[in-house]
Symmetry: C2
Subunit: 211 residues, 2 copies
DNA sequence: TTTCATACATATCGATTAGTATGTAAATTT
DNA sequence: AAATTTACATACTAATCGATATGTATGAAA
């Protein structure tokens, strides 16, 4: 009651708000019931509006899905950029990095993106657009981040490759969520990932004369 | 014409044959159009029969899906047991093992199982049964295989844990298929996986007094 | 304050879904 | 070979999908 939204809102505010509520509802549904289960009726119900409102803001369901891709990608970028994984001394510990990546790319919210990628695979029109969107995101988000976190004189290609592998492993781990694994299972495998990568990076550093 | 099937077949033969054709068609569709896209009409069409025949052999679609789980699990076990990954001298090379696991668990056919796991996630009745089926399979297939390939006096728990991690990574890698990555991408990451694990296992062996 | 555009709701559409009812042909039993 | 069961096909049903058509309420412009 104290922070009740002003009763009289401008049109653009209402639109933006409703659009975000719809996108948020779609994201939730994508990772709870999957792409096929995320129907327009369910999205509208979850958003507290009708399908009429949904189709007013997103003329087609595909359009809404791209809204989800845009929003989720942006949120993931923000969370990736939040560099709370750096310890106070500025040193990057592998175990912290793994935890950070897990929090970002192991998050159920991120899975919504993959639901769209996988769910549209046989759609000749939609899938190529989804894949392109994905490539763009990786290029504008991940690569700059990588260049900022690896020095020029590193064995950078190797390190970048290992980083890509880390994301792959984390994605594979997130699949296990669907098998109702407990938290210890995830922590154990994250620890293994950190150990494997840490050991490898040490070796790479030893062979790198610039150090 | 030479090996044309005998025109007059027994009922059980006809049944078994049609059931297998249906299951095969379902598996193909599961990894090409996904769980939701695998409709009874499509399955029947692909199998060259009608939906009437489908429902005669599998009274419900769920039943057919469990037929898929049974068959695919069995096939994966056979392929896992085919120990062509052992080099002639009997020594197990990590890179060969990784390739072997990739051929089995990175195969599109195997993804059909995961389509069912993920696709049924919000089905309160079906999903628990699917998860149970999965656990049974892992227990009766993977664990015996692991015990056969690790010696008692090894640091077995560590090795088993690393093995589980390998499967997770391979699963994550197989997801990238949906992004139209080229073959080099997969090979590069399989090589990284083999390097990481190989290096780790060497360290474990050094600390193991039994060697 | 009147006019108009925007933001929604309601009602309904054709298409598609899993499943059923019923018919016919093939195989087995008697 | 007649009777019966099994293996399918055809036709249909209720439910649900994304989408549209049309109405009403709300905010912006005049």
């Amino acid at each position: 009651m104290s922070v009740a939204p002003s009763r009289r809102r401008t049109q653009v505010d209402r639109s933006a708000e409703t659009r975000m509520i719809l996108i948020g509802a779609a994201i939730e549904l994508l990772h709870t019931v999957g792409f096929a289960g995320t129907t327009t009726a369910l999205i509208a119900k979850r958003a507290g509006v009708t399908t009429g409102a949904l189709h007013h803001h997103f003329s087609t369901k595909d359009e809404l899905m791209f809204g989800v891709l845009d929003h989720a990608s942006e949120r993931m970028r923000d969370r990736l950029e939040a560099e709370e994984h750096l310890s106070p001394d500025g040193v990057l510990h592998i175990s912290d990095l793994v935890q950070h990546l897990w929090q970002v790319y192991g998050d159920p919210e991120y899975w919504a993106i993959w639901e769209i990628i996988i769910g549209t695979r046989s759609d000749g029109v939609l899938h190529p657009r989804v894949v392109t969107h994905r490539l763009d995101t990786m290029r504008t988000v991940l690569h700059p981040w990588l260049e900022r976190h690896t020095s020029e004189n590193d064995a950078r290609p190797d390190i970048v490759a290992i980083f890509e592998f880390m994301l792959i492993a984390i994605r594979g781990l997130s699949l296990e969520r669907f098998l109702d694994k407990d938290e210890a299972y995830f922590e154990r495998n994250l620890k293994i990932l950190a150990e494997l990568v840490g050991q490898r990076l040490e070796t790479l550093a030893q062979h790198d004369f610039s150090r």
